[in-house]
Amino acid sequence: MTRTLSYPAALRRAIIAPLLAALSLALVVAAALAQSGDAFGRQSPPMDPREAFALEVLPQPDGSRLLRWDVAEGYYLYREYLAAETEDGRSLTLETEPGVTKDDPTFGTVEVYFHGTEAQLGAAEGPVRVTYQGCQEDGICYPPVTDTLPAIEAAATPPAPGPASVKDPATSVASESGIILANEGGLLDGLSARGGPLLVLAGFFGFGLLLAFTPCVFPMFPILAGLLAGQDGTVGARRGALLSGTYVLAMAAAFGLLGLIAAWSGQNLQVALQSPWAVGVVAVVFVALALSMFGLYEMRLPQAWTGRLSGIGAGRGGTLGGAAALGFTSALIMGPCVTAPLAGALLYIARTGDAWLGAAALFALGLGQGVPLLIAGTFGARMLPRAGAWMEGVKAAFGVVFLGMAIWLGGRLLPGPATLALWAALLLGSGVFVGGLDRLEPGSGTAPRIRKTVGLAAILAAVLMGLGAASGAEDPMRPLAGLRPAEAAPGVADNDIAFTPVTSVPQLDAALAGSDGPSMIYVTADWCVTCKVIERRLWPDPMVREALAGTTLITADLSEFDAEGQALLDHLGSVGPPTMVFLDAEGREAPGSRLIGEPGVEEVVASARTIR
C-alpha cells in the first residue's frame, strides 16, 4: 500500500506474455500460409532478402553494435559472408557465432545459421556498411545484401569515436557533456522499435487492463453504479453497455487529451499531477467516496441526469452526455495513480515529438482501464445481488480501501509520523468495525471468532503504529524502528548523504567532471511531492546508503522550473522528477537502471549495483 510498484519492469513482463501468446498464434498461421506454396511441388516464392534475414541493430553504450539477424524458417545465412566495413571501405572486425555445418555434397563445409544469429561489431566512426548473404533452402541463393547503418553518436569518454547525430529513439543518446543515456528510454520506445505503433497501442491497452485492477480504478465502480442505478432502475444489458461504453470512451478521451495537451504545451504533465493541490484534492475525493461507502450519504447524480435516465427512450442524449462528462472527470482522479505509464508516454512524446502516437497510447490506456468497467456496467446489474448484508460489507471494504488511498496520497504531503498515525487510526477503526472488541458468546460460531481475530489483529497493528507515530517513526512496515537505539550505520558517519545540487547543464557537467567513479543523478524539485517521500524514506535507509557509498550523488533541482531546468531534463532524457539516473565511472547510464517514480529500497540498491 505504501510502495508503488515499479510499473515499467513488472508490467512489461505481464504485458508481453499474453501478447506473445496471441502473436505466436498469428505466426503459426503465417507459417501455414507459407507452406501452402509447396502444393505446386515447388518452393514458395523466395522472400525479400531483408525479410528473410531481418537485421536488427542494437547500439551498445560503448559505441559498438550488436547485430541480430532473424532468419526466416527455411532460410539460412552464411557465417563467412557476414562482413562490415566503414564508408570508406575499411573492413571492421565482426565477432560471429559458430554456425551449423551444413552437410551437403554441393555445399562443402560451410557454416550457416538457421533461425538467426548475433554478431558483435566493434566501435567504429561514422556510418557502417554491413553485408550479409544467404539462401532459401533448396531454392535460391541471394546476392549479398548491404545495409548502411547510421553512425552512433558516441561517447565523449576519452578513447571514444567521433560524434554524429542519431534521431532514432532506439539508439543511445549522448550529449556534449559526456554522459551517455541508456537506450531504452521508455517502454514506448521499446515497443515502438519492436513492433511499431500497433504494438505500442496494444501494450498500453494491456497496461490499462492491469491498472484496472489497482485501487486507482476502484472509485470508478461506485461512480458507474451510481450512473446506472440512478433510479429504482432495471437497466438492461444493452443500455448498461451503452452507458458504460460512453463513460469509458470519455475517460479514455480525457487521457488522450492529456497527452496532447502535454505535447503541445511542452509542459510537464508530471508537474501538474504532482502538485500538492492535485494530490490533496484527489485525497479529499477519496475520503468523500469512502464516507459515501460507509453510508453517511448516498452518492447521487444530479437530479437532471437521473430524471432523464428514468425516461428511457427520451433524453437519451442527455444521459449519454452525463456519462461522458463523468467519465471525463473520472480520468482526472486517476491521474496521480498512473504516473509511471504517463511518464512513459510523455517521455516518448518528448523524444520523438510524436504527439499523436503518445495521445493514442494514453487513449488505449484509458480503454484498457475501462474494460472491467464495461463488463461490470453491462452485466453487473444482473449479476450482483441487489442489496443485503454482504453488499453493505463490500461497500464498507471499499470505503476502507478508499481511505487507505487517501492516506497513501496524503502521505506525500504530510510528515511521516502523521501519516503513520492516520494508518493507525484507519486500522483501529477497521478493527473495531470488524468486531475486534465485540463480545463473544460461549456459543459463538466460527465466523464471529474469525472476525474477532482479524479485528484484534488490526487493533494490535494500530497500537503498534500509534506508538511508532508517537516516537517519530514513518514506515508502517517498521513502526517501532524509532524505538530501537540508534545503531551505528557502518561506513556512513553522519546522518545525511551528501548530494551536490545542480540546476543547469553546465553545473551538472562540472559536478560530473569532479568525479572519477560512478555517479547518480536524482531529479527532484520542491513541488514534487513524491520526491519528499523518497527523500524521507530512501536516503536514510542503511541499505540504500551502503549501496550508494562511493557514488557521486547529484541532485538535479528543478524547483525553479525554467528554460535551464527544461534543458537539464532534456539532457537527462527525463520527463520530470522523481527520476534517478545511474552512471558508471565512464559516464554511461547502465541499461535498465533508471528509476522513475517512487521506487523501493531494493530497486535503488539493484540499480546502484549496476554501476559499480
Partner: protein, 210 residues
C-alpha cells in the same frame, strides 16, 4: 519454429497482421520505380553469351547462375538431362556472380574458354565442383578437364571488354527483372525463381511452346 524468440514472434505476428497491405503497397511502389525491362532479344539472344543445348532450338532456357551457388550446381545435371532429352532447347547460362571474387574468376575463365570453343567443357567442370571455390580449386578443376588455364586467362584478357560487358548486362538484367538470386530461370516469357525439378522444367518448356 524451434527457435521462437520474442522477436520472431512479434515480427511474425505483425507481418501476419499488416502483411497483405504492406505487401501490396511495396509491390505497387516497386512497379513504379523499376527500370525498363530488357527485351526478349536482349535476354535470350545476347550475342556475347555462349549458347548450349540446341542453338537452333525453338525454346530458350535462360539461367542466371553462379559457380558457387549450391542449388545451381545441384540442379545442373537435371537441367542438362532435360535439355538433352528435349533436343530442341537453347540453353543460355548467364553468369551472375553473387558469391564474390572466386565466382567472378570462374566466370571469367569459362568465358575465356568460349573463345577457344571449350565453353561446355569449362562450364560442366566448374558446375560439377563441390562446395566453395577458390582460385586454386578453379584452376585445378579446369586443368583436370583438359583445359590450359593460362590460355583461358589470355583468351579472357583478349576480349575483356566483351566479357565484362556481358557480365555487366547480366547483372543489369537480373536487377531489372528483380531476380531474388541464383538460380533464376527464364523460360519463354516466364520467370522461375529458384531450383527447378525435371517436371517443372518440362512443364515450363511445354508452356513456352504454347
Amino acid at each position: 519454429m524451434t527457435n521462437l524468440t520474442r522477436r520472431t514472434a512479434l515480427t511474425g505476428g505483425l507481418l501476419a497482421l499488416g502483411g497483405i497491405t504492406l505487401w501490396t503497397a511495396t509491390r505497387s511502389a516497386r512497379a513504379q520505380e523499376q527500370p525498363l525491362r530488357p527485351t526478349i532479344d536482349e535476354v535470350m539472344f545476347d550475342p556475347a553469351n555462349p549458347v548450349l543445348g540446341n542453338p537452333e532450338g525453338d525454346v530458350t532456357i535462360v539461367e542466371f547462375f553462379d559457380y558457387q551457388c549450391p542449388y545451381c550446381k545441384a540442379n545442373h545435371p537435371v537441367l542438362n538431362e532435360v535439355v538433352e532429352a528435349d533436343g530442341n532447347v537453347r540453353l543460355v547460362m548467364k553468369d551472375w556472380p553473387i558469391f564474390g571474387a572466386p565466382s567472378v574468376r570462374a566466370a571469367q575463365l569459362a568465358l575465356g574458354a568460349a573463345s577457344l570453343d571449350s565453353y561446355l567443357t569449362a562450364n560442366d567442370a566448374l558446375m560439377a565442383t563441390e562446395g566453395r571455390l577458390d582460385d586454386t580449386l578453379i584452376e585445378e578443376t579446369l586443368a583436370e578437364a583438359g583445359l590450359d588455364v593460362a590460355a583461358l586467362d589470355a583468351a579472357y584478357g583478349e576480349n575483356r571488354d566483351k566479357w565484362d560487358g556481358l557480365l555487366t548486362r547480366n547483372g543489369a538484367q537480373a536487377a531489372a527483372f528483380q531476380l531474388r538470386g541464383t538460380p533464376a530461370f527464364i523460360i519463354g516469357t516466364v520467370i522461375y525463381p529458384g531450383a527447378m525439378d525435371k517436371a517443372g522444367l518440362e512443364n515450363a518448356i511445354a508452356m513456352a511452346r504454347g
